[in-house]
Subunit: 112 residues, 2 copies
């Protein structure tokens, strides 16, 4: 990862890795909505495409933010889960949630 860094700034380096419109939405789905399966991420309201989703899941795995495992011994389908490192993004997502709710009209979070 280091070779693609633009600077040693922690904000810049974070954006190098996850600074795009989709990656954090997949993290959100795992963190706040307990989604684990490819089809569950696809079904989110933003309408991520399957190729972007596959790309982002691979990226998140490579970054050590997500692990995958088959969801049964006789299945090739995968469950995806946040690692502890992935869970550590919680304050970032919380800060973005709070900002959006306060600054952007008509944003809402679902009832839990």
């Amino acid at each position: 990862m280091t070779q693609s860094r633009r600077s040693p700034c922690p904000i810049a380096c974070t954006l190098d890795l996850i600074g795009d419109r989709w990656t954090l939405l997949v993290v959100r789905d795992m963190m706040f909505f307990e989604k684990q399966r490819f089809e569950e991420f696809l079904a989110s309201p933003e309408g991520i495409s399957s190729n972007i989703l596959a790309n982002r899941l691979k990226l998140l795995e490579e970054l050590g933010l997500v692990t995958k495992q088959p969801y049964s011994s006789h299945s090739r389908r995968m469950n995806y889960q946040l690692t502890e490192r992935g869970q550590s993004l919680r304050p970032v997502l919380k800060a973005m949630t709070a900002w959006g709710l306060r600054q952007l009209p008509d944003t809402t979070t679902p009832e839990k």
Copy 2:
């Protein structure tokens, strides 16, 4: 802005607006490094190009996060400053800074 929203999720809406590799770096420069001028942003270590910078400053103005004013009465050059709304991104940038410093090796923030 509303028409390009992917969902009412505050995280998704925030990413719709500023979810890219450059926008928050310009905000960072104003927020933490007191930069105000086009040339100062250009000089940041990430090496933003002048066309991307011009685009992001325009976007930030349109979003009400930044205002500009001529820096003297006989100059057409501009000073850019965060609005109160722009300043409200501070917790997001702080959370990203903390995450980067903790999770990404060899990231550093300059001495103040």
